[in-house]
Every structure is written in C-alpha cells, then in structure tokens.
Amino acid sequence: MQYYAINTQQVTWEITDGEAVIIHFETSAYYGLNASGTYAWLRLAEGPVAADELAEKIALRYGKVRDSVAADVDGFLQTAIREDLVILAPGNGAASPNVAETSSLAGGYEAPRLTKFGELEKLILSGE
C-alpha cells in the first residue's frame, strides 16, 4: 500500500479562513487549497496516510461514502505529488484511527482542489 506525506523539507503553509496557502521553497510556487483540500492536507500533516484511508476520512467528514470521493482524493494526491508538495512515504504499518468527526459537513462536499497561483518573486523589503 502506498502512503503519502507532506514534503515538509520543501513546503510550508498557513491556513486562513479554513483554506490553506502553501509555498514550495525550491520552486517558489504558491498554491491554494479549497476547504476539502485543506482538510485532506491537515490529515496528511498528521503523518503518512494511504489514499483510501484519506478518502475514508474525507467521506466521513462530508457525510459521503468512501467510493464516491476516492477518485477525487486520488486525483488530488497525484497533482500534489506532481507539484512536489506531497511525497511517497513509508507507512506506519497500521492505519491511523479514524477520528470521529464532531461536525459532519454533509452536503458541503466539493472535490479537494489544489490551485497553483504562480511563483513568488524575490521579495524586497524597504524602510521607505
């Protein structure tokens, strides 16, 4: 089974109003995640996770069945890998426990989406 993890050597992120902005240090690219993408990202931040495990968590969160979100999650992970934001990682040998969601967002599901906004230029600071 493949496990996925955030490429913490190369990326950092911040979450504002429930949506993450990610920057990649080497490429200087910056990205945005929608709400479900941010939820997926936070699960990845907890440690290596398998695609079906992640799909399960997202399905639980949004009141869906796993199979209905699995393709979306797979697509999201493939895009994130292509952008070097996520890497394949050794698994921990056991599926992480499914934390029961206290607030299911049934009806609010939107496929996890990663948007590349562009590349950051060398930033200029000034006293003026």
Binding site: T16, I23, Y30, Y31, L120, L123, L125, G127, E128
Partner: protein, 159 residues
C-alpha cells in the same frame, strides 16, 4: 481564496521562512549604514514579548513590507524610525509584525544581529533618536518659558 489574498499570505510565509538559502532583498537608503540597497536579509518570526528597543523589524503594510528600527514599544504598537531618516516616525500594529531582521548579507559576508557591528549600529541609531527627541523637548520648553515671560512682562501703554 483569490490570488491576491493567497499572494499576501505566501509572501508573509516567504518572509518568515527566510534563511541563507532563501534570502530577502533590502531596497533603499533609509536604513543606512546598517542596511543598504541590494543587501540580502534574513527575517525570523519573533514573539511580541521578545521584541526589544533597537530591533529592526519587518511588518506588513498593505502590499509592502517596511523594515525599520523599534524606538518605542507601546501597548500593542511599535514606534519605528529609519536609521537614516530619524525625523520620520512610523507605527506598526502588533498583528502586522512579521519578524525581526536577524542577519544581513553583503558581498558574500554575513553579519548577524548578535555581532558587535550590528549592536553598535543599533546603539548609534537610538542615541541619535533620543538626542534628537531630547533636543526637541528642550526647545519646546524654552519656547514655552519665553512665551510665559513675554506675557508676564508689564506692557508699555501706547501714548
């Protein structure tokens, strides 16, 4: 989230994660002699409680990132000056502060904020600021005293 919002957050992150491999550039003459045009600088996040008078800090102001010296720490605000323009004062809200400048690179050589040259620059800048402020205060007191004396003096009546 739109592109401009994302850019602003990404730039904040860029500043807070700067290091020798991911430097930032300084522009202008406002912080001479410590910082000059095209110097590379590194900024590190700093807790509000750890900000000291004399620190050079970077904060967010609209889409710009001013970098100036702290001369006074107020309740949730900083008063800042530029070393080379001590007559102009600036203010930064606590929430806008992104970090403290901790190193400067010039011609391949780095100087850290703990080094003597950096501390000397801070001391000189603060001395200039305080001397200027004291002179201004003395001048105001002198003017007020003179005005009081003028009013207290008996007027000569016009014949």
């Amino acid at each position: 989230m739109d592109r401009s919002q994302a850019l602003r957050i990404a730039q904040d992150l860029q500043i807070q994660h700067s290091d020798v491999n991911r430097t930032l550039y300084f522009h202008g003459e406002s912080m001479l002699p410590l910082l000059r045009e095209a110097d590379e600088i590194i900024v590190k996040p700093v807790a509000w409680a750890d900000i000291r008078i004399g620190d050079v800090i970077t904060y967010r102001l609209d889409d710009k990132y001013p970098t100036r010296r702290v001369v006074r720490k107020l309740n949730g605000w900083l008063e800042l000056r530029c070393d080379n323009w001590p007559e102009r004062r600036f203010y930064a809200d606590q929430s806008a502060v992104l970090g403290r400048v901790v190193a400067r690179g010039r011609d391949g050589r780095w100087v850290g904020c703990g080094e003597a040259v950096w501390k000397r620059a801070a001391l000189l800048a603060l001395l200039r600021f305080y001397a200027r402020a004291a002179f201004g205060r003395a001048l105001r007191m002198y003017s007020q005293a003179r005005e009081k004396l003028r009013r207290a003096a008996p007027r000569t009546s016009a014949m």
